[in-house]
Each structure stands twice: as C-alpha cells, then as structure tokens.
C-alpha cells in the first residue's frame, strides 16, 4: 500500500505497475461456473438443461434470440444451474459445467469477421468488449480506442498482452476495422510499450503512468482531446473502448476460428508480489489461488480487480469472469478501515479529484441521501470512479461507496420514471 509521503504538500502519486510478469498457463479446472446475465433461477432458460453436454466455445444463451449469452470455456456437461445475484442486485443464472476429457471445439463460430459474429460470440471475450454501439443506428462511432493500460494499480494483464502478443493485437485491429467500418483506431499505451504498440497498425498515443490516467474518461480527455460530458456515455461521444487483451483475443479468434475462452489475470499475494496467469473463463477463484500458492485465511479480503476500484468477494467459489483483470488477496491488518466520522472539510479530496468535483460538499449530500441534489448541484454524474477521494480521506469516509450508491439509487429512480411514462 502506498502511504502518504512525508511532504504532504504535494499530491500523492500512484504509479501503475509497468512491469508485466510472465504468464503462467493454468490447467483446465474440474468445473467452471459461467454467470449468464438475466433469466434468474434458470427460468426461461429453454435452450439447454442440466446434464446436457457442451463443447468448448459453445454459445449458451437462455433462448436462441437472446442477446445475453456465455461461451462455454470447457468441454463437459452442465452439472448445475442456479440463481445468482451480484452485489448490485443484477440477476444471473450460474451455469456450472463439469469438465470431461479433451477440448472439443464447437463449430458455431465462423471465421469471417462480421459484426453479427462479434455480437454473437465475442462479447464474452476477456475484457467484455461491447459491439452494441456499432449495431445501434443512433450512435455514430468515429473512434475505437484500444486501451493498453490496465484499469487499476498493480494489474498488468493488458500491458502483458501489448508487450507479448502484438501480432494478435494487429490482427484484432484489422478485424475490428473490417467489422465496424471505423477507420480511426487509437491505441493508448504507457511510454515503455510504444515500440510494441507501433507494430499493431493502430495510431499509438502515450498515456501517463500515474493513476487514474488509464481510465477511459481520462484517456478521452487527455489523449483523444475530447471531454465526455456527464450526460453522455463514451459511445455518445463517438468512441468505443476495447481493452488490448480483448483486441488480441478477437484477432486470435478470427485467425484460429475459435472464440476466446481464456483470461489473463494478475494475482497479487498478501506480500504484494504479483504474477500473471492465464485461466479458463469460469475457473473458480480458489483454483487460481491454489495454483499460485496463495493462501487465503479467515477475515482476509479477496478483491476482484485492483486495490482502487475492485470489488471484494465473499467466496473463493466465485468464478473468473471475462472482466476479472486481477485477484488481490489482502490481509485484514493491511486493509483500509472506514469510520463513521463526518467530513472535517480538509479539502484533500477536492485537491486530488481528477475531474474537479467538490467532493467535500458532494459527500454531505450523499450522506443525507439527497442524491438528486448531489447530481444537480455537486456533479455526481461527472465522477469517473477512480476512488482517490476515499484513498486520501483523513476522516476515512467511504466516499467512493457513497458515490456508487448515489449513482445506483439515481439509476433506480430513472428506471422507475421511465417505466411510468
């Protein structure tokens, strides 16, 4: 953990981990669990049932025309289907597949790069690339940004891919251009990866190596030179972000004719040592940790993602998902404790906020549950969710949590309003 520097006058500098570790391939696990969005409790899942055999690369959707799907990462048979609700209340069907024998590849994936294939198979690729914006006639996408930075401190999965799989990234960039018809493909990388990135055929831009410069909104502002307004999504602003790992996976998929089924992730042990592994999507976290010889004890934190933006998970049985860039195991003694102290108005958060939100006022409104006022007067919507305000808070207020809660509650209000109209 990076502590406050002696000279508190200067803002703390949190540097990304810029030295990707080599990747260790993990064996195929005994079971994988895939979380299929929507269709809770297996209800409405008509396309397949428990006991059915599945092949590697097979598309599993609740019904043939559903846009939500998972891609089986192993060959075997479905051993269980159960409801699962994540920490934001989103409903999933957890499909557990018992692995059996050698990989047999499903023939559903066609080699020709088309938007239809991408929509049907590649949204479950590592990094969860989204192609919906390209299919949406109301959105004009002018730029695809290949993000070669990792989204959190300590993690290096994306940088590893840029460093070692530049040829896959190159075919991925070509495939993306062909699929989407977008000519302008930018690639944002840290300075030390410019050489590898320049072989991919994308327009290379450098990103500063301090957190949170690698976040999409910061790249849009500092690298692309376009501020995304708080009311808009990135796609509204004409840009789609795809992680470098996703691009490499797309390239490899079209080269081999097989959809991607593995994910590179950084495992951070309690002593802060990092290593990269490549696991089948759906591998239980416990299997990954066991393979890395990382022990997890009672009261530890098991963080999916990185230390600033990750989500602490309650179980080692949860699976590696396409968006899981890292697993951080943190000892109870090392973890940041929050308090119920009020804001003392010291202004640390105001000075560190990368988008200049008056966090000192915002947190007062959020604590009082005045979410609409917080959005209208104190820029709740502008937040890029970097977590630095909580990191420096001297009162140790869970500001980031309040912000996420506020955004969540507002989204519920908006959904309810839309339903009433």
């Amino acid at each position: 953990m990076i502590k406050r520097s002696f000279l508190g006058l200067v803002a703390p500098k949190l540097q990304y981990n810029l030295a990707p570790d080599p990747v260790q391939d993990l064996p195929v696990p005994n079971t994988v669990t895939l979380l299929l969005r929507g269709a809770q409790n297996g209800a409405g899942v008509t396309a397949f049932k428990v006991g059915e055999a599945v092949k590697t690369g097979q598309r599993l959707a609740s019904s043939p025309d559903s846009s939500e799907y998972v891609i089986s990462s192993v060959t075997g048979s479905i051993s269980a289907m159960a409801p699962y609700v994540d920490s934001y209340g989103r409903k999933f069907t957890a499909i557990t597949i018992q692995t059996g024998g050698q990989d047999e590849w499903d023939a559903g994936f066609s080699k020709g790069p088309t938007l239809d294939t991408a929509l049907k198979f590649l949204e479950y690729a590592p990094g969860n690339p989204s192609f919906k914006a390209f299919a949406d006639p109301e959105k004009t996408i002018r730029t695809i940004v290949v993000n070669g930075m990792d989204q959190d401190l300590l993690l290096t999965a994306n940088q590893y891919v840029v460093q070692n799989e530049a040829s896959d990234v190159k075919s991925g960039v070509e495939a993306l251009k062909k699929i989407t018809g977008v000519d302008r493909v930018l690639m944002a990388v840290p300075e030390n990866l410019v050489q590898q990135a320049s072989t991919t055929g994308a327009e290379v831009k450098t990103v500063r190596d301090t957190y949170p410069e690698g976040l999409p909104h910061m790249i849009m502002k500092d690298v692309v030179g376009q501020v995304v307004s708080a009311d808009d999504t990135l796609a509204d602003a004409g840009a789609v972000f795809v992680s470098a790992e996703a691009v490499a996976a797309i390239g490899a998929a079209f080269n081999a004719g097989q959809p991607p089924v593995t994910k590179v992730l950084t495992v951070v042990a309690k002593d802060g040592s990092t290593r990269n592994v490549r696991a089948r999507i759906g591998t239980p976290l416990g299997d990954v940790l066991k393979a890395c010889n990382v022990a997890v004890n009672d009261r530890d934190r098991l963080i999916l993602g990185g230390p600033m933006r990750g989500a602490a998970s309650y179980s080692e049985d949860l699976p590696v998902e396409p968006g899981t860039d890292g697993i951080v195991v943190q000892d109870d003694a090392d973890s940041a404790q929050t308090t119920d102290y009020p804001c003392i108005n010291c202004g640390e958060c105001v000075r560190i906020c990368p988008v200049r939100i008056p966090v000192n006022m915002l947190v007062r409104f959020l604590e009082a549950r005045l979410y609409e006022d917080a959005a209208a007067m104190y820029d709740l919507d502008c937040c890029v969710e970097c977590g630095l305000c909580s990191y420096v808070c001297v009162s140790r207020i869970p500001i980031f949590q309040y912000i996420k809660l506020g955004k969540y509650e507002l989204s519920l209000i908006e959904t309810a309003e839309a339903a009433n109209e």
Binding site: Y314, D317, S335, G347
Partner: protein
C-alpha cells in the same frame, strides 16, 4: 454479535454447489468491503498531534517566559477542553471523540491565545464556550461554522476586557524587555510610541502578549512544518500574511505618521499564531483554491482595518470570525467539474 451464533450455511451463498459438498467444509469467512482497499494512512488524530507538535516551540517559549502560571493555563485549558468534550459525549450518548485530539488542539489554541495571568474560571469558561458552544452544539468535529478557540476568545475579550488588557494583566512581570503590549501602544500613542520595539526583539518573542503568540520564529517554524507536511493549507496561511502585509503597507504609505509599518503588524499581536494555527482550521475555512486565497487575504485585510481604524487593539478574533461567516459563500467559487453540462436557461 448475534450474527456469530447463527452459522452461515454455505449452501445459501453458493447455490450452484451441491448441498452435500457445501455442507462439508466450513467456508472461509472473508471480509467484504467497498473499494478502494488502499488508504494513504492519514488520520484525524495524526493530524492533530502534528499540530500540537508544531505549536510546541511557541508554547515552550511562553512557559519559559511566564513560568508556572503559563504552564497552568495551557494545561488547564487542554484538560478542560477534553473533559468538556467527554462530558458532552456522555450526556448525549454519542461515541467518545476525545481520542481524535481535536478537543486537545482547541484547548491548546485557546491557552496560547490567553495571557499567563488569566484566572482559572476564565479558562474554564473559555474552553466550555469553545467546545460546547463553538463546536459541539453544531454537531461536533467538522460542523463548526466558526473557529471554536477564536469564538471563545472573542466572547471573553468582550466580556472581560481587563483580563485581556495585556498591559494591565502583565504589570507584575519584568522579563528584561519592554513590557508594554505593542499593539496597545500603537493604538493609544501612534507609531512614534512603537519605536522602542526592535523588530528583532518582536520576532524572537521578546514582547508582552499572550502565552503562545509572541514567539514569531517558533510560530513560523511550526507553521512551515505544518504547511510542508500538508496538515494546514498553505494557501490560507500565506494569503492571510500577505493580506496583513499589503494592507498595513498601504496604510503606512498613505500616512506613516499615523500608521505602523507592515512588519510591525506581522510580528505583533495574534498575527502569526492566527496565520498558521487559527485561520486554516479545517471546518471553518474554504477548500477550493481561489476561495482559500480570498478568505486568507480578506481576513488579513480586516485584521489591519480593525487595528488601524477600528475600536479594538487587535483585530484578529473579529476579522477571522467575520470571514468564517463568509466561508460557505466564498467556497461557492469553484472550477467547473470536467464533463459538467451547463444548462443555459
């Protein structure tokens, strides 16, 4: 505690695990929390202990000059402040907050602003006003709109003028330097009367005044330490000093026979202790850059205005309290958040 009695059934949490298997091995109990999982280690108590540490040079100088009475006032003020806070916590059934050091700092500051001869009941009353009236009735730490020690000082100065008349209060002391209160001399007799004070003496604490506010060098060392460590906002401290300096300079330039020079104003009265320990108090001062500069500069301007053309000998308590009231308004001057959509009516 009741949670611990009821065992967590793993099967409820992981419905995709077969019940048999889930029941077998007791699941590890992991702690779930929200991001971020790192913290820079800053704490309110650390901050307050550093403020006390930085105040030590000035306090020790005061104690070495005035002896046991000064020590008594400081210690009694700190003790009373902490006990007031504790009693308030207990009476209202709130969590005990004296461990954060905020009450101790308030007590220390008030002690430093008082003459060594202040009677015990004035100290007791002052700390009660500072803690309960100044801070706790607004909701405690972080909610006080006014600076608590200054509010108490202002009320005491208005109520017991004789006790805070340093010429009268310190009349029995002879410490080997001019024992009249410089600002009182200036107010009564004009700049001609202050020629007997050398700037060096004023800077080194060889002047009459409150316990912790006369030793300029010590206060500056402490203040620079706090600014470098990031425990006080340099913008406020420096703009306050600049406000005092520039206003005093303008007065001095307009009529040097009537108004003292800027350095005299910097090194006398409560100027330096206010600049580094009082004005940048967190809750009652702004957090944005331009408001911080305005806040400090205007407080400095008001201080010299009161000293030069107002009724009081030292303008510090009143100028800063006035600016505290303007703080919420000032802090509205802020940069547009990046991505903010401005709706034009």
């Amino acid at each position: 505690m009741s949670n611990e009695k009821k065992p967590v059934v793993p099967h409820d949490l992981f419905p995709w695990k077969p019940a048999k298997e889930a029941g077998k091995a007791p699941a590890k109990k992991l702690v779930v929390a929200h991001a971020p999982f790192w913290h820079d280690g800053g704490k309110i108590s650390t901050k307050n202990y550093h403020i006390m540490l930085a105040a030590l040079p000035a306090v020790l100088m005061g104690i070495s000059q005035y002896g046991a009475p000064a020590l008594g006032v400081i210690a009694f003020a700190m003790a009373c402040a902490m006990i007031s806070e504790l009693v308030w916590n207990l009476v209202l059934g709130k969590s005990i907050s004296i461990g954060d050091g905020s009450a101790a700092v308030t007590g220390l500051m008030l002690g430093m602003l008082m003459p060594a001869t202040a009677p015990w009941w004035v100290v007791l009353l002052g700390t009660f006003i500072a803690i309960v009236v100044g801070k706790q009735i607004f909701g405690g730490i972080g909610f006080n709109p006014l600076n608590p020690p200054l509010l108490a000082l202002a009320m005491l100065v208005i109520s017991f003028r004789g006790i805070f008349d340093f010429n009268e209060a310190l009349r029995h002391y002879d410490l080997g330097f001019v024992m009249t209160y410089p600002l009182a001399d200036l107010k009564a007799f004009g700049p001609a009367a202050i020629e007997k004070f050398s700037l060096g003496d004023l800077f080194m604490g060889r002047q009459a005044g409150a316990i912790g506010s006369t030793f300029g060098l010590g206060l500056i060392v402490g203040g620079v330490y706090l600014m470098l460590r990031g425990y006080v906002r340099w913008e406020i401290s420096l703009s306050f000093l600049a406000g005092v300096f520039i206003t005093a300079l303008l007065f001095n330039l307009s009529d040097s026979a009537k108004y003292a020079g800027p350095l005299f104003h910097l090194f006398t009265g409560y100027t330096l202790i206010a600049a580094f320990f009082v004005v940048p108090e967190d809750s009652s001062s702004p957090a944005n850059f331009i408001p911080m500069l305005l806040f400090g500069a205007l407080a400095g301007l008001m201080t010299v205005l009161i000293r030069n053309i107002g009724a009081y000998v030292d303008g510090v308590p009143f100028s800063i309290l006035l600016m505290n009231l303007a703080n919420p308004l000032l802090d509205k001057i802020r940069p547009k958040a990046i991505g903010k959509v401005v709706e034009n009516a």
